[in-house]
Amino acid sequence: MKIRTQLIAGIVVFALLLVIISGFTITTNQQIEKLIDQEELATNIALEVGELGYLSNDYILYREPQLAVRWNAKYASISHDIALLPADQPELQSIASTLAANLRNTQSVFDDISASPVQPGGSGTAFIQLSWSRMAVQNQGMIFDAGRLAHLIDDQADELRQTRLLLIFSLMGAFVAFLFTSYFLGARRILRSVDRLQRGAAIIGSGDFGHYIDESSDNEIGDLARSFNQMTTNLTTVLASKADLEREVSSRKQAEENLVRANLQLRRNEGDLIERNVQLNALNEELTATQEDLQQNIDELTRAERKLREISGRLESLYTSMNEGLAIHEIVYSGEEATDYIIRDVNPAYEAITGIQRDAAVGRKASELYGTGEPPFLNIFSRVAQGGAPERFETYNPSMAKHFAISVFSPGKGQFATVFSDITEHKKAEDSIRKTSQYLENLFNYANAPIIVWDPEFRITRFNHAFELLSGLATGDVVGQHLDTLFPEKFRVASMEVIRRTIRGERMNVVEIPILRNDGVMRIVLWNSATLYEADGTTISSTIAQGQDITDRKVAEAGLVEKNRELGKANQELAAIHEELSATNADLVANEHQLLARNEELTALNEAIIATQQELHRHVEELNQSEEKLRRNEAELKQALTEKEVLLSEIHHRVKNNLTAFISLLSLDGSMEESPSGKALKKDLQNRARSMALIHDTLYRTGKFSNVDMDFYLSTLVGQIAGSYAERADIYTHVQAGGIAIDLARATASGLIINELVTNSFKYAFPPEFDCMAERGENCAIRISLAADNGVYMLTVADNGRGLPPGLDVSTTRSLGLKLVNFLARHQLRAEIGIRTGKGTEFTFRLKDKGEFA
């Protein structure tokens, strides 16, 4: 079997085991969880039954309806829980049934007790005890059953836990078994096969290709071993072929040595050939030199020919592309006299200018071609053809209405060539320039404004008629003179300086320069000038200036200046006024800015106020809502408080009544032994109960439930005690509490203490033989006072009787009354006790404030 198949089979078996055991474990876990829940339910039932017992006891004692309601709710809860208990096993089902039956019995007992009227007198206590016992029997039974049920369920859970543990161990055992089985059945066998294969490979690797690996298994290692064996067989075959190759190499080496020897012979023959070759090379070099000379000559000829072709090409190009018409002619002689000339060749420009096609012109006589009878300009052409110098002339052809410029030269004797161009446009432009020039000349000469032109050396070149009138000088006298001759002596340097600037290219604009007339009068002239340049645009050719006589205007201006000065003065005054106005305006502007800024602040403030108002509105609305809510809450609280006060009042009234009933109970015949000590004990008990009942009565009567009005309370208490000792009407009691009110706990303790001490005073302070008047000089009296000082209360109970017995220690006495006084004062009131005897007995109790007390 293949290793892969073995592995897959092993893993599948182990996975199946794992799944089965895991399934069992999960199921067991779920059962355990269910049992734990059931155990908790049973435990909870036991706890609830206990609480039901408490509720039963309370109800039996107090008989309050709300306790019955709570009891029924608890009963329903237990009943619901019992219904959830497991019913799948007989034992558990039996216990659950018993529980349910006991619960129903409890309900019956409780209903029976509820239906029973409250028993009056002494039999009530017996009834309560009986009811408690009945309920306790039921409750104990249910608690026992619930506990037993929980215990049984817990046992079952433990069993299941053990089963789960067993399953987990089984899983671990299965895993270990899988590992061992895999090792012994598969891995060991594979390792042995691998070992054999490794050893066989080592032997083959050492060169023993005849070794055969003995591995017969049918797995992958067996396949590998068989592949190794096949490989060694193939290698053996390859090694045999290698011997044949070595033999062939040896024979080839022999043939190679033969070749080397033949090669040496060939090299010797090669030496002879080289010598002959040197001779041939010398001959060859001579031939090469001759060939180079020839080649040089050929090259020169080629270059000359090329140059010639280039020139010819250029000439041809010039001939065909030139704008001027070109015609080559040959003179026709008659004897020695030239009579005509024949056109031998023309270029394309000739055709374009004359409108005569080349084919029509070449070979024809001029007299025929041009239709003039006489060949044109024959005398000039024949002169040039006879070896004369080249000539140039212009002519007008009326038939073509064109001007021509014609150049003539002779390329050979009896021949001439004419180069002519159409200059009709040029002639027209010349005529136009001439006319323009004439127009400008007239414009210059006859302009109303004086105009003068001078050259770069400041020599006057032009001088118009208007300038003649201005200066009184004739053009002929001025032209060629230096420019400064026109200016008065004292202005000459300054005037020339202004004018020199025109040479540097600056234009004169509205510059006043005076001119000296020939009659000695000075005229003020306003000048404009411009510099004129040569065609190159940089060289100054001349300067032209145009003047305007402003002498009269200057005179008028002087008058205007005076008036202007007056106006300036007025203007200054106006400026002063304007400054004042400006200052005022600036103030106004500043004020306006301040006002604007203030306005912006006010606007921002206004916006903030609006936002605040909105916020306030929102808050007011919220407050209104809160107020409404508070009002509702207050009303609810008032209602709750009223209800609470009513309830408190009812409770205090009820407690007082209960205690009063208890006092009455003690008063009934037979309640206690009718011996003197029994009667005394009864009275003590009644007084103690009365002191407590009176507290509740005081709270009920005053309607104040947190603090007790001690003046009212102590007066009533002491009055009642005195009333119980009616036979001692000779003893006076005085109570002073000064409107103090203290909390319920301390008032109760204080009341009990006062009750004990006042009772003691009545009982022991004034024996019949004690004469107060004789001993104390006053009536027998008991005084009780309660005073407050900075949060500390001082309670005093004093009598003017015979005092305490000598050696009496309050803290160790066996007397119940004094023990109560000591204990309540120290433990409950946290009071410091002071005892003074002498003229009677005085007990003082210093009660700390409530915070310290707490």
Partner: protein, 126 residues
Amino acid sequence: MKENVIMVVEDEGLIALHLIEILENAGYRITGPFSSGEMALTVLKTPPAPDLILMDIGLAGSLDGIETARLIRSRFSVPLVFLTAYSTERTVERIQGVKPDGYIVKPFVAENLLLVVRNCLEKKQC
């Protein structure tokens, strides 16, 4: 034989007196009574610790008996038994949260009180 010490935390003087009388007559030594939880906690800081604590629910001072018991549970390992009267459900829940060692229901009788105390001290099971 070692004399067991019982701490009484009860603010009602007469009930405290009654408890002490019953317990002392039965031979136990009493520490207290303490009327507030603060006082009880202060005393517990100083060893030796009592063998049992009897704790009333309503106490003077800012801590009630349940809160005092919770603090004692978190700091000391002394058995604690509550003295309870009629309680609201909320109070019962709070009491259960503290997990006391036992309850004594008021009004109690001496035999029941001593039975619970003896169980707690001798069997460590209240």
